[in-house]
Structure formats: structure tokens, C-alpha cells
Symmetry: C2
Subunit: 540 residues, 2 copies
């Protein structure tokens, strides 16, 4: 019987003692990194990326203890079972097959006796064909005008994943399409989008697995009414990405086309499915979407096959747990030194915090303390001029630095102080990782830096679609491995249910007031009632 959780292992106590040992002065990072071979021994290349963890607070003993978790918790074995369709989402009795969405292998992926790959390939072909028809003008709006604006109506994973990738690859958007996101139910989100589009050349892409998400339904209704008010038939300006048989896949409610998503791919893992495929292919062309998928598939294979010593996402997951559970850090920063990666942190924030911010293990028992960690970040160098004061001299937190060897724009080579902008950017990335690690003693305490702040550095060769796919898959696999180590189900999200239940009840109160202006909100608690009165007394 393989234990399912870290804290049930004997090794857990050893790791705790080891973490204590890392408090010794000689284990300060400024000492650890003086070893001439530190970088060589604490960095690894694989799946198309480079991971340097030489400035993490580990030594060989800590690393050996962490690497041993692979076998003891059968981590890579579980990853293989995930990729082969086992129902690891136990609370919802679902398989977890986002990796199948980007598989180009001939091997079947069998679920309940059925190979899911033919259906995945069919949807990919459908996306390719549809996006080409839009680009060539074979599919147009009701007035015959080509589509120039695409509005993605979706929230959570239907928004953050596509937003990350479309921002990263915006420099490649050469299909005359402007992409807009309508995620928030806030009418000001709708209003801003409505002001930015040209309705006759606008295609609305409604993304919702169940097609019952409150925000997405409300925004779809606004969009339909808006188009009708412009004299346009909404059904000729709308496509849906949804589960087979959902209300968005209902022939009595026609749309231009419907693309299927599957219950074996969770929202926050769905950007390589039709959820990302449709908007990204419209923005960039299907071929670039496929290149992105192939990069993700390469990292999937690496995450599955590489031994722990060389496995980037697995090492990153072990370090994340080490930093959180043993060294006690309460946050993690993600700081890409690359503007196009500006939306990586918000995406990983959802991916990781919704996956692993859990209080119970896979067997349904409470953990000794909740798993997960707060993830936040902004691009560097911007972050240096924002919250890095606290990072250097306030409460420390580990950071993922991300660097890109070749930027998207190499045509601007003006130099300042003898270096190009790209070199200046790298000088800053390297300086921050080093300064955080080594610190500086100073007699003036306001100018003293403790150092010993851990970081990893991840390097991409460039921002080609393949590398964005690799980076996406890296963070997905890291998240999954973390969940395996902590013993949580990284694929459900019951923590969002209570808010929905309470909102249902408040919405009913409001709807009743809309119908009966004299209604006094008798069905709610005193605090909420005061707010409802405040709201209904305003111009809204």
C-alpha cells in the first residue's frame, strides 16, 4: 500500500529536520552558491526548457530526501496513470486527460473502453477548417462582412489560459483579427467591449463546459440583445465551445458552429483543448496553435519519462513543497523578464491555487494544514520598481525568474550605457536573483540585506509558440506533481460552491425586488439586506 500523502511518511520528519539544518549560517545561500560546480549540479535541461535551481535553499542532503519522494509516493507512476485515463479526480469520478488534448502520437488513450483520440483529432480538424474559413472570408457575419473582432465570452480557465497564450504570442497575430475578452459579469466589462468592436464584423465565442456558468450566460444574453439592437442575427455571429449535449449544443438554439470540450479536461487545464484552440487559431492561425500544442506535448513526455533527477516540473514541484511545507514560505512570486509573458502569473495563480488550495486529501480526510500557496507576480523589471522592496528587506518569498534568450523584436538595437535593452533586461534578472541570494552586510541597517532569499530561473530560447506550450505544460505538470505530493485532488474545486449557493439566494431576492418594487428583502441576513437597499436606491 503506497501512502498517499507526504506527512504520512517517515521521510517527512527527516525533511523537517533537514529544513532546520538549512537555518545554520553555513547553509546561507551566499555560502551554498560559492561551490564552483553549484550551477552545473543544480540545473537541468529537458522538454525544451532550462531550469536553474542553484539558488534554492537546498544542499545534497535535502535534494536526496526530496528526490526520494518520487518513488515513495509513486509520483511519476501517478502521472502515467493520469495520462492513461485513470479517474484521478476521485470526488467527481473523472479522468484527467488534458495531456491527450495535445497528443500527436498514434497511441490510443482509452477511457471506458473507448479511444478518446479520434474525437480530439476531429475537434482539432474542425478548428483548423473553421478558422481558415473565417480567415479566407468563406464564413462571414450576417451582412457578409469578414470577421475582424473576436470576443471570447468565458471566465476562469476559459479566460485566463487563452489570455496568457494570446498575450504571449500577440506579436504573431497577423490574421486581421482583434481579440477581446468578456469574462467578468460586470456590465462595465461588457460596455468596454461593446465600445471597442464593430458589430457587423464581430464573432462571439461562448466558452462554457456546462453552458450554465452564471457570468457567461448573463454576458451571452447581453451580447445577443446588443446584436439584435444593431439589426444583426446573433446566431450568425456566435459559436460555442461546450460539452456535447449542453444547452450550448442544442440544435433548437442555432449558432454558426459548436466545438466540443470534454469532462475529462478541467477548466484550468483546458487551454490546449478547443477552449484555447478556437480563439488562438482565429487570432494566430491554426498552424501556430498546433505548434503550441506540440511544445506542450514535448514537455508532457518529459514530465512523464524523465527520471526525477532530470525532470523539470517534478523538481519544481518538490522545491515548491519544500519551500512551503518545510521552509514555511507563504507565497511564491512568478516574475517573467518578458513583457509578452505578463499574463503568465494570473494564469498560474488560477492553475495552481485552484488546484492545490485544499484542506482535504484524496481520501477525504483533513490535512494537518491546508495545502497550496499564494502565487502572484508581475513582469520584471516592472516588479523591481513595485514590490521588490519587500522581497529584499521585508518578509521573504521564493521566486521563479523567467528569462528569454531571444526576444520577439531584434530590430531595435539602440544602446544605453553600452548595452541594448535586451541586455539591460538580462542584467537586471541576473542581478535580482543574485542580490536576493547573497544579500549585503551594511552598518546602516536600512541598507542591510539579509539575503538567503531563494529563487529558480527558467530559460526559454525564444517566444515561439512551441516554447509557450512547453512553459504552459511545465506549470501544469508542476501543479499536478505538487498535488500528488501533498496528497490532494488537484482537479476538483468544491471551495467555489458555497459562494455560488449564497449568490443564488441573493439573486432570488433581487429578482423578486425587480418584480415587486415594494419587496423588503425579508429572505436575507441583515448585513446583506442593508447592501441590497443601498444598491436598489441607486441608479443602476
Amino acid at each position: 500500500m503506497i501512502p498517499s500523502r507526504l506527512d504520512q511518511l517517515e521521510r517527512h520528519e527527516k525533511l523537517r529536520l533537514q529544513a532546520k539544518a538549512m537555518q545554520r549560517p553555513e547553509a546561507h545561500l551566499k555560502n551554498l552558491i560559492t561551490a564552483a560546480d553549484r550551477l552545473e549540479h543544480y540545473s537541468v535541461r529537458g522538454g525544451g526548457l532550462f531550469l536553474d535551481y542553484s539558488r534554492q535553499r537546498i544542499d545534497n542532503s535535502a535534494r536526496q530526501l526530496l528526490f526520494g519522494l518520487d518513488q515513495e509516493l509513486a509520483l511519476r507512476d501517478r502521472f502515467a496513470r493520469m495520462m492513461h485515463g485513470e479517474r484521478l479526480n476521485v470526488t467527481e469520478n473523472r479522468a484527467v486527460l488534458h495531456t491527450a488534448a495535445r497528443s500527436f502520437a498514434d497511441d490510443p488513450v482509452v477511457l471506458d473502453g473507448v479511444d478518446v483520440m479520434p474525437e480530439i483529432r476531429r475537434v482539432r480538424d474542425q478548428i483548423k477548417f473553421f478558422s481558415e474559413q473565417v480567415h479566407t472570408g468563406q464564413i462571414t457575419g450576417a451582412n457578409g462582412r469578414p470577421f475582424r473582432h473576436v470576443v471570447v465570452i468565458g471566465i476562469g480557465g476559459s479566460y485566463l489560459g487563452p489570455e496568457f497564450v494570446s498575450t504571449a504570442l500577440a506579436a504573431l497575430a497577423d490574421r486581421n483579427i482583434t481579440l477581446h475578452y468578456l469574462a467578468n459579469v460586470d456590465i462595465d466589462n461588457f460596455g468596454a467591449v461593446a465600445a471597442a468592436i464593430d458589430p457587423p464584423s464581430t464573432l462571439w465565442v461562448v466558452i462554457s463546459k456546462s453552458f450554465t456558468t452564471a457570468e457567461t450566460s448573463a454576458n451571452t444574453i447581453q451580447a445577443e440583445q446588443f446584436m439584435r439592437a444593431k439589426g444583426l442575427d446573433p446566431s450568425r455571429h456566435m459559436i460555442t465551445v461546450t460539452s456535447k449535449g449542453s444547452p450550448g449544443d442544442d440544435p433548437s438554439r442555432p449558432v454558426l458552429q459548436t466545438f466540443h470540450m470534454f469532462d475529462f479536461i478541467g477548466g484550468r487545464y483546458s487551454v490546449t483543448s478547443a477552449v484555447g484552440g478556437v480563439p488562438l487559431s482565429l487570432l494566430l492561425g491554426y498552424d501556430r496553435f498546433e505548434a503550441f500544442l506540440k511544445g506542450a506535448a514535448e514537455m508532457d513526455a518529459h514530465a512523464l519519462n524523465a527520471p526525477v533527477e532530470q525532470n523539470l516540473p517534478l523538481i519544481a514541484a518538490l522545491l515548491s513543497v519544500w519551500n512551503t511545507t518545510y521552509l514555511g514560505y507563504q507565497q511564491q512570486g512568478i516574475i517573467p523578464y518578458s513583457s509578452p509573458l505578463a499574463k503568465l502569473a494570473p494564469h498560474v495563480q488560477q492553475l495552481n491555487m485552484e488546484s492545490n488550495g485544499k484542506a482535504v486529501d484524496t481520501a477525504g480526510a483533513f490535512l494537518p494544514e491546508p495545502a497550496g500557496v499564494v502565487i502572484f507576480g508581475e513582469p520584471g523589471t516592472n516588479a523591481q520598481h513595485s514590490f521588490f522592496q519587500l522581497a529584499h528587506q521585508g518578509k521573504p518569498f521564493p521566486i521563479d525568474f523567467i528569462g528569454v534568450r531571444t526576444p520577439q523584436h531584434t530590430q531595435y538595437q539602440a544602446r544605453s550605457k553600452g548595452v541594448t535593452n535586451h541586455q539591460e533586461l538580462w542584467a537586471n534578472l541576473l542581478a535580482q536573483a543574485r542580490a536576493l541570494a547573497v544579500g549585503r552586510d551594511h552598518a546602516d541597517k536600512a541598507r542591510h540585506f539579509d539575503g538567503n532569499r531563494p529563487s529558480s530561473t527558467i530559460v526559454l530560447d525564444d517566444l515561439a509558440p512551441e516554447n509557450i506550450g512547453r512553459l504552459l505544460s511545465f506549470y501544469e505538470a508542476r501543479t499536478v506533481y505538487e498535488g500528488f505530493i501533498w496528497g490532494v485532488n488537484s482537479f476538483d474545486q468544491f471551495g467555489v460552491e458555497l459562494g455560488k449557493t449564497v449568490a443564488d439566494s441573493l439573486r432570488s431576492e433581487m429578482a423578486r425586488k425587480n418584480d415587486q418594487p415594494g419587496y423588503d428583502f425579508a429572505g436575507t441576513d441583515p448585513i446583506s439586506r442593508a447592501y441590497l437597499e443601498m444598491l436598489f436606491s441607486a441608479d443602476q
Copy 2:
């Protein structure tokens, strides 16, 4: 002698004991908020905003202890001294007069025997006149075309403050100006801006107090070279916002116009100075900028004059310290239920974390533990579909919810499930604050919610410029009061110096390599050297 720090007070121990008492089951929020008058007694209106702290984990005893800090630490007295020009930035021997930037009172603000107000008024008039001349086409680019694109080159406070306000008020941008931000030294930031503008109708606004900020200098050089390559004289497409006598205020290096900023206003507090004034007046018209200033001034007066029991920013600061130092929360979320407020959290992240993420007190002694807290956030309802899983069931953290009674767009009234989008938004805001507080017992532990998660709710009547000014000033004053309580200097940022020093040395290595291709980076450490070799072997 007034003690300068919280932990030097006898009250400190009482607060610690009180925090322990708040762990008792009967002090769970679900019990505290059942009192019929809870909202009435734990909410306050002032300075044009409403603050509800009924769902913070305090009772009357805790509140009395916290309110007592006002007198014991002379908090409001210090705020008055700040507004009257005392050099509270002791390490840099500077006054802290961002409040003067939005003063419309006749009272002088005297610094070193000189009233600073006439100069502030002169700059305001200059902004008004200049922006009107741009809008009417009296000032144009070199080819005589009116300015349609404004690119703000600036980083840190020269970026995040203007970005917050311009995003909040984007619906009012009716002057035919598109605003772009060039903050990051990343050449891909420059490349994206260059691709989005029309050079002959582009005005570059370079904002830097010292005019030596590395990123801003490098981007200015790129912009000048870019304009020249387009056959345009950069000096006729550029204005500067900088200190009197800086390299950006040098007649031998002419620009269209120079606007002064002052060393008594720190970058992160500077959005109401010319730093925000120039871009915001160009985008929105000067009158709206002035309305924004007047809202901020109203909240300044409230922060200065209101007794502690009614003082919104002071109460918020006391709660922030209570949550961080006594209840042990390590983060704070800022969740505006309003898309236009999407950039509030990144702004406050800088404002607060750079101000208070400090390890030393104003006397230069180490604090018992570093002050400050990690601030992060995304708009609701988006955040509910992202990291709220962790908020509900993982490690708890306090949240500021922000609601707006009247949205910018009231013309879209389609209903879903009986309510408008704006009502749905409010149903969610209210539901989250309540669900986090009360939780839910459930036999299935995966569906159990501990509750007892604290939050405040701040309400704006609408998104008029005045209210954005009030909200800005609220968070500034909250930050300042927090600093007073923790006893830190909220106005310096020595924590960013070490990274700059290390970057200087790495930049020199790169510059030398640019000049001497055979150079082997002998002057740096082995890890940095490996990266420099990796970078210089790439197409960059």
C-alpha cells in the same frame, strides 16, 4: 516622549492576548455578525466613501485597543505633521507632500520657509494649458498632424498610478487620444508599442524624477532613434516630467515642454502630481483630472480631521496591522467588483509593499519582525473563478471587497435569471463576503468550509473621477498610517539599491563584451557568467 513603534507599547501585549481571545469558538465571525447592529456599529461613512468592517475579526475589546493606538502613537498628529511639510522621510531628509499636489485650499504649505503651493498651481496651470493646446491642435507633431497617441515612458510610480487611474476612467476618454505605457526595459514592450502607434501623431511623455532611471533612459533612447528613423524630429514629439535641473530639464536637450515634479513627492505617491496630471489630462481633459484631485483632497481632509472612530483610512490601517501582526495573516487580497478598477491591486501592491516592506524602524533599528504584507488581487467575479478556492478552503487571508453602486454603463439592462449584470455582480460580492465569514459545516469534508475569513467592503457611489481620487487617497493614507503604526519610514526604498548595484556591474560586463567580442566575463561570478555566455551565444 512618544514611542515610535507598536511593539514598544504595553498595549502590544494586550493586543496579542486579545488576538488569542479571538480564536475562541464564540468569536468566530459567524457568531460576531449575528448581532443585529453589527453593521451599524462596524461601518463608517466619510470622505465620500463607505467602509464596512463588520466582517473583520474584531469585537469591541479589540477595537478599543486598536483605536487607542491613535493617541498612544500620535497617529493623526503625525499625519498632520506630514501634511504640513515635516521631513518624515528621515533617511532621505525629505518632506512628504503628496497631499499638497491636490490641495485647492488657500493655505500655504511652507517648506524651508517657502510656500510650495504657488509652484504646484503653476504646474497645474501649465498642464491645463498644454493639454488644451494638444486637444485643439495648436500643438502638433513635426508634420503638423494632431497628436492621437500618447506613450508614457516611465516605471514604478510613474506607471502604476497613472495606469490605475486611466484604466478606471477609460470610459471618459473622449479626446481622441490613445494612451500607451512603455514601462519595461524589455525590448518587446517597446516593440509592441511601436507596432501600435502612428509615429507622426505620437507624443512621448518621459517621466522620471532624476531622469537617470535605467529603464526610462534606455526606452527614451529607443524612442528617439525610432522617431529619427521615421524622419521625425524627436524633440518635437517629446515632453518630460522631471525635477527642476535634471538631465530631462536641460535646455541644450530641447523638448516640446517640461513639467516639474518635486522631491517632496515620492514616486508611488505621485499620481496626483504632474506624473499623473500630464497623461491623464491628455487622455481625459484637464477638468476631469482636477475633479479627480478634488476627490483625493476630500479624503485627505477626512484622513487628517476625522476622529479615529470615523476615520476610514486610519481604521483600515489599524485592521491591516491587526490582521498581519496579531492574527498572523501573511497576505491581503484586493478584489474590486468592477472591471475598470482592474489596476487598483497592482497600484496598491507597489504603494503598500514598497512603502512598508521594511525591516528597520525610523530610528534605524531592526524591527522584531519585518513589517508589511503581500498584497495581490484581481477583479471579482473573475477572482472567484481563479484563486478563491484557496481563499475558502486553503490558507485564509483578509480581503478588501470593493463595490460600485452605479456602473459606468447603465444602458444594457438585459436580465439573466431575473437580474441585470450589475445586480448579478453585487449578488456575488455580497455572497463571497458572507460565505467567507460564516462558512458551512458539512459531513463531507471536501464540502466543509471553516469560515471565519475576514473581509472589509468599501463602497463607491460611482466611478466618477472624484471617487477614483477618493479611493486613491484612501489607500495612500491607509499605507501611511500603517507605516506610522509599525514605526517604519514609508517613504524610502533602500531595498531596491542592492539589485541596482549588482546590475551595474553586470551591465559593465556586457558593455565590455559588446566592445571586445573575445571578452570572457572575467569580472563576474560563475553563475552569472554562465548566463552571460548563454545570452551572448543567442540571436539577441
